[in-house]
Symmetry: C2
């Protein structure tokens, strides 16, 4: 985000977007100084941009010198088709899966080379997991992420591997060959079992959601304690949920995941 | 949104925000020509801004000449504290309410002078309602909206009345005195019953969510067919849900609704 950000050729809009992009799940609230440090922009520039963003409602100022994303930007963002159409179609079935299993349920898509949590429904006796709506995680390090990689073009998977396979937990697959074997197994079985890959202590069952075009557009997963010996009883429930969501997607609703990944 | 938008003194950022703000629930996808018409900006200006917004991911181009909000903007918007903290706290209890009643459940806040749907969980035998996550509706024309008005400062309610009380359905309260009586009744009872106010055929039971500061920060409602003769059996469930959400809100999490409304 930093690095050359203050280059003279950079446009005003580009600088303003860098200010917005400096907010993250780890830093949802920032001071002017933090925004300056994160963007590499001049303090006077940040001061002026932030004032305009606050005036419009893209940022809010909860206290003096502190800034966070405003409800108006949330509202505009909620118009994104993935958030609207895919989530709207999926939510009833995700709720049913949550009600039947009592566990955390995730709806995940690829965003760039990472897995993005589009929805997360809380479970009852909840496993502590790292997920949060809007959070991105390495795609190789979770069941729903591996499902998306399994059906992505090989060149895309090669790019993910080239960027590195960081260890997130004791069971994370960090070896490219091991990942290739795992993805082939997902394609063969049509689902994915994971243990201690994203979070120590959590296991998951994940399955692909196939859109009207025949492409995998998202994945759904249910999270259980990794002490659960047999994950197989959850497989039909997760696969049926994924199938139901796929059937509910309206043909012609263009969920441009395969396009972005190719 | 239009009107004076192309005035020379308008900043680049202001113009770019006008482009983003031209997208709405009614127009989630627009052509360049529609954006030009909605913003009042010059076509060349819109062309250049849109290209920058697409490059950053704030907009996506699903087909030639068509634009919509991109997943990156959704992700940044999801960092807004109302979306994160309030929704995270509320979701388990909203799910329980949905499971127990089988009906549509809403989480609503005030945004400006309107009611904003922060969450909407689908019901089983679903009543057709106008709600959608991120959609704004006149605050006087629904149960959760009236609950928020009932606990808002009188000056704010006066502003809402001054802006007009449009009829949305057969039962919408359009008379200022009648509205004042209804709001007083909400304060007395601690909940709100509505019939055919936002949508013909839909009734609702709504209750206030009181934050750690003692202020009403949001409202929760359940929607049933307006043919339901007795709404009273739903009242304890909705009020208990609102109370549970209020207890789950972390003290110090600043939900700046009362500030914005005062």
């Amino acid at each position: 985000m930093a690095g050359g950000a203050s280059e003279p050729g950079r446009s005003v809009l580009d600088r303003a977007l860098a200010v917005l992009g400096s907010f993250s799940d780890e830093r949802p609230e920032q001071t002017l100084g933090q925004i300056v440090a994160a963007t590499g922009l001049a303090a006077a520039t940040v001061h002026r941009l932030v004032a305009e963003l606050v005036a419009w409602g893209a940022l809010e100022r909860p206290g003096r010198g502190r800034y966070r994303i405003g409800i108006r930007l949330w509202q505009i963002g909620a118009l994104a088709p993935l958030a609207r159409d895919l989530r709207d179609a999926a939510l009833p079935f995700l709720q049913d899966l949550g009600a039947v299993t009592g566990q955390v349920v995730h709806l995940v898509v690829l965003d760039g080379h990472q897995a993005l949590f589009l929805e997360r429904l809380p479970g009852h006796a909840e496993v502590t997991v790292r997920s949060r709506v809007g959070r991105r995680m390495p795609a190789h390090a979770s069941g729903p992420g591996k499902v998306l990689l399994a059906y992505a073009p090989p060149a895309f998977v090669a790019e993910v591997v080239a960027r590195g396979l960081p260890r997130m937990a004791a069971g994370t697959i960090t070896d490219p060959h091991e990942l290739a074997v795992a993805l082939a197994e997902v394609r063969r079985a049509g689902y994915c079992l994971s243990r201690d890959e994203m979070t120590d202590g959590a296991a998951s069952v994940a399955a692909p959601i196939i859109g009207p075009s025949g492409d995998v557009v998202a994945s759904v997963s249910v999270v259980v304690p990794s002490s659960t010996e047999n994950l197989q009883p959850l497989v039909p429930a997760v696969r049926l949920t994924a199938a139901a969501v796929g059937r509910a997607l309206i043909p012609g609703v263009d969920v441009p995941l395969s396009a972005r990944n190719s």
